[in-house]
């Protein structure tokens, strides 16, 4: 099924032997857990929430094993991390549950990111994200040069999920979860996801020395650390958690040995471990539930109180220890046999079977401890309630699993042979070597190893007092403290970094941003061969030189005078003027007209604003060091931008504008291509732009609405402002100029489609003409004569523009499609009418409305009307 086909993301499911095996485990044990949890949860717990999380997890886990798409697989992978987080923190009122959940999520989530990296690289190298295709491309991956990166990232993902040393520490803390969760997620299924992944990608990645050494040594370390630590745990679940780690290490070790039989043994042990460990966890949960504690120093002699549970738990524990006739024995024998058949460490390869035997012995010791300490060894100490057998159906899941232990242990080939065959061939993707599951292989070395392990393990347990004393000399390393410390440290460092970037100072932030963009822009320039391109240049003349000089001088003066505000404005207006001339000179009359009129409005606005801003600025506003630094950055920036500009100007142009030039007359009905682009080709952009204009004006209106401005009455030297506000001469002249100005703007507007002009420019001219009246006569005078609501003007302009676009729908055209035709009127002659003109009218009105709304509102603040308003209030 296609999901995001562009990215090669499809939802694909794929069921082979391995997936089938895991699906069986997930669903089978899941079913038992569901039954068990029904009795385990107390009435205070939200049953529905628990089951919702559990089902979510189940779906996610099934998703992992059934995915045939790498990204889809990763998605479900992360989903298991999240549902595991939710389940661990199910008793969210407990601080250890919250912390454990957070730790598990952090570790497995980080691993998930690494895995994503690995999967993306695999997809990049092989060109497909489809699992079954990828698995056959082992050579491609090996030769790509990315192999080691992929391997490291991949193993990080698998090891964190499957709690391999040194990432194992999250698993014991995840035991804060309700026991059904521990039984299901943290022993039988989720922690096996890493194993599953290694098995799944076994044919792709696992035939190099790097894989053998890293995986087998990690597995071995995990096996030993887990088994050793398990021996000293007083908490039942703690013991089981570390034993889980140790068994996961064992499976990893098998996968790392690289031989085919070892891989088969690994798959076999996955099944066996899931069966006996889930039943052990459930038994531990029953003990906890019925006796109120999991502390093995208090729990003793439970045999008398719950004989059936005790029998079941002991059978499972014996399987864990690897006692003959039980399933654990079989896979352990296979493991011992395979450790003898490997040459990973060269001449020192005999270390591995030796260490494996040590691990086996430790595992016998902690299994014995589980059996003897809990069910025998005297009487319970300080229990709050008398232990008893659990409800009938709470025990059923344990019974089922223990029976499975026995059946698999006694009739392995009959019960599990086919499943194992199918799963193993899916792992190896080749023909399976001959192998037989028997309980009795005759007297051989593996059997001897088992015997040694059991003997030494029993001995260790009997002499445990000495061991405990020995271990007691060392301080326990609390992984949680270290982890929390690291997290705190990272948070603190992040805080320092953040404060360094964002120190409340806008200037500093701006400075950093400029530096960054400078670096990004300059880098490509450094690699450019030459600044100058091949385009023929226009020879310069004295006018251009003069204008450039004027521009530079007035720019510098603007900076120099920036503390003398009025003079800075004068210099700035000269800059604006030169810019307009530049536009005019280089064949852009529309731009020149627009720039000129905007210039007028801007300077007027600045002048008004000066009234309200402080009249004085310090000549030097910051330390000299800062000024020099800023000057440096500004110079660099200017030079870089100038260089880019020059490089661009001297290179040939490939433009899409030929289309506009060709179709302007025939399609848009106008000869002024710039205007036709604005109102026709790119009309939708223009609509957006006038909307922005309107919004800006309304925003300003709102900002000025409830402002209390300080009204200066004198300049900085104490000379009072002139009270004579409206000179008569100005009033007379401007009043008589108004009709003329309006006529000009109408002319500019009408001719805009064919000659320089149009709605923007005409709107600005009209606005300037009206502003002049404001300046000459004052707000009140204007208000009486022109009672126009500028907000309404903006709105109507926008409406007209939109309607002109919508109108073309009526005729079955696209939005904003232009229609035009020619008409004859007696006396005037032939003229053209285009629907684009209506759109331009909208632009015209919006521009007038916005400009006047801004200026008139600010202007109003300075006038007597405002004083009267304030007076009225007081």
């Amino acid at each position: 099924m296609e999901w995001i086909p562009v990215l090669g993301l499809n939802i694909q499911l794929h069921l082979d032997g391995l997936a089938y095996l895991f699906a069986l485990l997930i669903l089978g044990i899941g079913l038992l857990i569901i039954l068990y949890a029904r009795y385990y949860l107390s009435e205070r717990d939200s049953m529905s929430r628990f089951y919702a999380y559990l089902m979510l997890f189940m779906v996610a886990m099934l998703g992992i094993v059934l995915s045939n798409n790498l990204i889809q697989l990763w998605f479900f992978w992360e989903l298991t991390s999240i549902s595991s987080f939710l389940l661990i923190s199910f008793w969210s009122y407990r601080s250890d549950a919250r912390k454990g959940a957070r730790m598990a999520l952090t570790i497995t989530g980080a691993g998930g990111l690494a895995l994503l990296g690995a999967l993306l690289l695999i997809g990049h190298v092989t060109g497909t994200y489809q699992l079954d295709e990828v698995l056959g491309m082992s050579d491609v991956v090996h030769e790509s040069g990315y192999y080691y990166v992929i391997l490291v990232l991949f193993l990080l993902g698998a090891f964190t999920k499957s709690a391999q040393f040194p990432f194992h520490f999250w698993l014991p803390h995840a035991m804060a979860a309700p026991t059904p969760v521990s039984a299901y997620l943290h022993s039988a299924t989720m922690v096996k996801a890493g194993i599953f992944l290694m098995a799944r990608f076994f044919p792709l990645l696992a035939d190099t020395d790097a894989w053998f050494i890293v995986v087998s040594l990690t597995g071995m370390a995990t096996l030993l650390v887990g088994a050793y630590t398990a021996l000293f745990k007083h908490d039942l679940k703690g013991l089981l958690a570390y034993s889980t780690i140790s068994h996961l290490g064992l499976i990893t070790l098998l996968l790392g040995l690289g031989s085919e039989l070892a891989a088969i043994a690994a798959v076999f042990h996955v099944i066996n471990h899931a069966i006996f460990k889930a039943s052990l966890f459930m038994a531990a949960g029953i003990i906890d539930h019925e006796s109120g504690t999991r502390d093995m120093r208090k729990l003793n002699g439970l045999w008398k109180y719950m004989p059936v549970t005790a029998t079941l738990a002991m059978v499972a524990a014996a399987s864990m220890a690897g006692v003959p006739l039980l399933n654990g024995f079989l896979s352990k024998e296979m493991m011992f046999a395979e450790t003898l058949n490997q040459y990973t460490l060269g001449a020192l390869s005999w270390w591995i079977p030796l260490l494996a035997t040590v691990g086996g012995a430790l595992s016998v010791a902690y299994s014995l401890r589980f059996m003897h300490d809990v069910f025998f060894n005297g009487e319970p100490i300080g229990l709050t309630k008398t232990p008893h057998e659990p409800p009938r159906y709470m025990r059923v899941p344990v019974e089922v699993l223990v029976v499975l232990c026995l059946v698999v242990g006694i009739f392995p080939q009959f019960v599990i042979g086919d499943l194992l065959n199918a799963a193993s061939s899916a792992v190896l993707q080749t023909e399976l070597p001959e192998f037989h599951l028997h309980i009795w292989h005759g007297f051989n070395v593996p059997l001897a190893m088992s015997a040694v392990a059991i003997t030494v393990g029993s001995f260790l347990y009997i002499k445990r007092k000495h061991l405990f004393n020995f271990q007691g000399q060392f301080n326990d390393i609390d992984a949680k403290m270290i982890f929390e410390g690291v997290v705190q440290d990272i948070v603190q460092k992040a805080g320092v970094l953040y404060r360094w970037f964002d120190s409340d100072s806008l200037q500093r932030a701006m400075f950093l941003m400029l530096l960054l963009s400078l670096a990004m822009v300059s880098y490509p320039l450094l690699t450019m061969a030459s600044v100058e391109g091949t385009r023929p240049q226009i020879p310069t003349n004295w006018v251009v030189t003069f204008c450039t000089g004027l521009l530079i001088i007035s720019t510098l003066l603007t900076v120099w005078w920036s503390h003398l505000r009025l003079r800075a404005l004068l210099a700035l207006s000269v800059v604006g003027l030169v810019v307009s001339i530049t536009f005019a000179y280089f064949s852009a009359p529309d731009l020149a007209l627009t720039q000129l009129s905007v210039e007028v409005v801007t300077i007027l606005l600045f002048l008004l604003a000066l009234f309200f801003l402080p009249q004085h600025s310090p000549v030097i506003d910051s330390p000299l060091r800062v000024i020099v630094r800023d000057l440096g950055v500004a110079t660099l920036f200017g030079s870089v931008v100038g260089t880019i500009c020059y490089a661009m100007l001297t290179r040939p142009l490939e433009s899409i504008s030929d289309f506009f030039l060709e179709n302007s007359k025939s399609g848009g009905g106008g000869t002024n291509v710039v205007n036709v682009i604005l109102v026709d080709f790119r009309g939708f952009d223009t609509l957006g732009e006038i909307t922005v204009l309107g919004i800006a004006a309304l925003g300003i209106y709102k900002l000025l609405l409830r402002i209390t401005l300080a009204m200066p009455t004198a300049n900085s030297d104490g000379v009072p402002w002139s009270r004579e506000s409206h000179p008569v001469l100005l009033a007379l002249v401007s009043q008589s100029l108004l009709p003329l100005a309006l006529l000009v703007s109408a002319y500019i507007f009408l001719r805009g489609h064919n000659m320089p002009g149009g709605g923007f420019i005409a709107g600005l001219i009209t606005a300037i003409a009206l502003i002049q009246q404001y300046v000459a006569h004052g707000v009140e005078w204007m208000k009486q004569r022109m009672p126009i609501n500028y907000q309404a003007l903006i709105a109507s302009g926008l409406c007209i523009a939109i309607l002109s676009g919508v109108g073309s729908w009526v005729f079955g055209f696209n939005f904003l499609k232009t229609w035009y035709d020619y008409f004859y009127l007696p006396g005037i002659g032939k003229f053209e009418l285009a629907s684009a003109m209506v759109f331009d009218l909208g632009v015209y009105l919006t521009v007038i409305g916005a400009t006047l709304l801004i200026l008139a509102n600010l202007g109003k603040m300075t006038t007597s009307e405002r004083l009267r308003l304030r007076g009225g209030k007081e």
Partner: protein
């Protein structure tokens, strides 16, 4: 001629950047205005320089590129709206915060002076 144009753009940019890094609002607004000139000219330059080639059909043989011109035209108008907005924001900030620093803090004042000033204000009330 291209060189002169680029030189002008460079100077405008540099001056704009320098003023933008100042602490007071007025120079910052001046800087923004200069920078928007520079940006507009730069955008315009992406159509290259053509003399006597206004994009009015039928008036000349070689036309200048009309597309950057259309873009710059709207950019000028929007630039005006933005400048206006920033100016009003500066005025508003001055009345609300009592100074005309871009980040609302007076650079020359130490924390003690600010605290003292605050006390004085409260006492007045």
């Amino acid at each position: 001629m291209e060189f002169s144009f680029a030189l002008g753009v460079g100077f405008l940019t540099g001056a704009g950047v320098f003023l933008m890094l100042r602490g007071q609002t007025f120079p910052v607004i001046l800087g923004l205005t200069l920078l928007s000139y520079a940006v507009n000219l730069f955008l315009f330059a992406s159509g290259r320089l053509v003399i006597n080639g206004a994009a009015i059909l039928g008036t000349t043989d070689t036309y200048s590129d009309p597309l950057p011109q259309a873009l710059v035209l709207t950019a000028i108008v929007i630039g005006f709206a933005m400048t206006a907005f920033v100016i009003i924001l500066a005025i508003r900030a001055r009345t609300d915060m009592g100074n005309d620093q871009v980040d609302g803090r007076e650079a020359s004042l130490t924390t003690d002076e600010l605290v003292e000033r605050k006390h004085r204000k409260e006492n007045k009330r």
